[in-house]
């Protein structure tokens, strides 16, 4: 006796149309003897925003840093399982330097380098060998426009980057990542250090960016996840308890732990 079940979203029907960029299979991560991530399985789709939510310390940031091998710089970290980007195993078949060109990262606290705005954005292209000034000018302008900050900053390109506001600094960091023309943009709580208006600006920006990039965002703000993401994964104690379409997770999650978390019954 079911009728009109638009709310009853089945993941299978839309999967065929989605292009999967990153596949994670049976990922375990250890800090020495301590296991931080347990048998993670998740697909990250292109032209989508995938949000990772969950209480503090449950593995979301650790996980997102495995995607661009930033965990390599920490002593004693090792993983089992596979992470494949465009069918290549990023730990076995990929040079981390090359990988990070394709998978960029924006951090929680805006971290522009202590140089001019221009030099910040041009940093990536320069270290990858681009020297021609005209090319760099174009790249800088294009990236700052993509990050929706060009108009505010075009008259102070050569002034120190640390002299602009927090929200602008974060958009600058986004421009910096976009300048190396990545495929995937990882964002680790990008707006938690910002005020509500800057946050809204960046959410609008993410909405625009997802048309051309694959975006994975860690957030502890559930309303944000609800607002901007297409797919949501709920992390608890290093395990993905549930992953699915955001609408389904926020309307009718299947896992009671997910329900308890997103209704705020525990944090």
């Amino acid at each position: 006796m079911e009728r009109y079940n638009a709310m009853n979203i089945s993941n299978e029907t839309t999967d065929q149309e989605k292009k999967i960029k990153i596949t994670v299979r049976d990922l375990d991560l250890f800090y020495g003897d301590f296991q931080a991530l347990h048998k993670l399985n998740i697909d990250i789709a292109d032209q989508e925003v995938t949000a990772l939510i969950g209480p503090s310390g449950c593995g979301k940031s650790t996980f997102i840093r495995t995607l661009n091998r930033m965990n390599d710089v920490i002593d004693g970290v090792h993983i089992t399982g596979t992470i494949s980007y465009e069918t290549r195993d990023i730990y076995k078949n990929y040079d981390p330097i090359e990988l990070r060109k394709k998978i960029g990262m924006v951090f929680q606290k805006p971290n522009p380098f202590p140089m001019s705005v221009y030099d910040n954005v041009a940093y990536g292209p320069r270290i990858h060998g681009i020297k021609d000034k005209r090319t760099l000018d174009e790249i800088v302008e294009r990236s700052l426009k993509q990050a929706a900050i060009w108009d505010e900053i075009k008259d102070r390109l050569h002034k120190p980057a640390l002299g602009i506001s927090g929200g602008q600094q974060q958009r600058l960091c986004i421009a910096r990542v976009l300048a190396v023309e990545p495929d995937v943009v990882l964002m680790d709580e990008p707006t938690s250090a910002l005020d509500p208006i800057s946050t809204s600006r960046i959410e609008d920006l993410i909405d625009e960016l997802k048309k051309s990039y694959t975006i994975v965002i860690v957030t502890h703000n559930m309303q944000q996840a609800g607002r901007i993401s297409d797919t949501t994964a709920f992390f608890l104690n290093g395990v993905i308890e549930e992953v699915g379409a955001t609408e389904q997770i926020f309307f009718s999650p299947t896992n009671p732990k997910t329900e308890a978390y997103i209704t705020g019954k525990f944090g």
Partner: protein, 222 residues
């Protein structure tokens, strides 16, 4: 839900609101019971009381609605919490209509108060009893989040429907046998109709209780 540790304020508000809905349901039950009593006793004073008391029911609906609206604005409920709020809004709408039906029956009782009944009222009170039982059970199902109970309640509506058909056929024969009976018979037919509608509203409430539990819309009215 296991880990009910946080958002105490929200839980308290929701529970208080649920109690208000149950209270409203109790008023509606009382209204129907009294209205049927008026019919049986042909008591005009009681009928007037039922008509006056409907205002309480209407105000309660508006108050509950406003509370729920503010809850959405300030607490941004999601998932189960959200479904419960939406369900609550839908239920109070149904309850208000059910209260209106009780008023209609009371008015009919007033109209027939001076007349002598053409037949003994046996089935109508039975319909009312079933209706009250349905309302009671479905609100319990709502309070307990019990979708099975809600679906079971819907079955009682079948009995109300068959009783209604029976009364209709009976009243038709009365109307065909004597033209003087038509006036009273049609009024009694209307009362039956309202009691049948009463059952339908209760069934609607059952559908919303199922939605509250599962998020799915199902059709229980046949």
């Amino acid at each position: 839900m296991d880990h009910n540790t946080l958002r105490q304020h929200y839980s308290d508000e929701m529970r208080a609101n649920d109690r208000e809905i149950l209270k409203m349901g109790a008023f509606v039950e009382e209204a129907v019971r009294k209205s049927m009593q008026c019919m049986l006793d042909q008591d005009i004073d009681l009928a007037d009381k039922v008509i006056r008391d409907d205002e309480v029911i209407n105000n309660l609906e508006l108050r509950i609605q406003d509370t729920l609206t503010l809850l959405i604005a300030t607490e941004q409920p999601v998932a189960g919490d959200l479904r419960h709020v939406i369900t609550s809004l839908k239920i109070v709408t149904q309850l208000e209509r059910m209260g209106d039906h009780a008023v209609h029956i009371a008015k009919a009782a007033k109209k027939l108060a001076e007349q002598h009944y053409i037949k003994d009222l046996i089935d109508l009170p039975k319909m009312a009893e079933y209706g009250i039982e349905m309302l009671h059970e479905v609100l319990t199902a709502f309070a307990e989040n019990d979708q099975d109970k809600a679906i079971a309640v819907a079955k009682i509506d079948d009995r109300i429907d068959s009783l209604h058909n029976q009364i209709w056929r009976e009243l038709l024969t009365y109307m065909m046998s004597d033209v003087k009976n038509i006036d009273q018979a049609t009024t009694l037919l209307f009362v039956s109709r309202w009691l049948e509608r009463f059952g339908d509203h209760a069934t609607n409430i059952s559908e919303w209780v199922v939605y509250d539990c599962t998020g799915k819309h199902i059709e229980l009215n046949m």
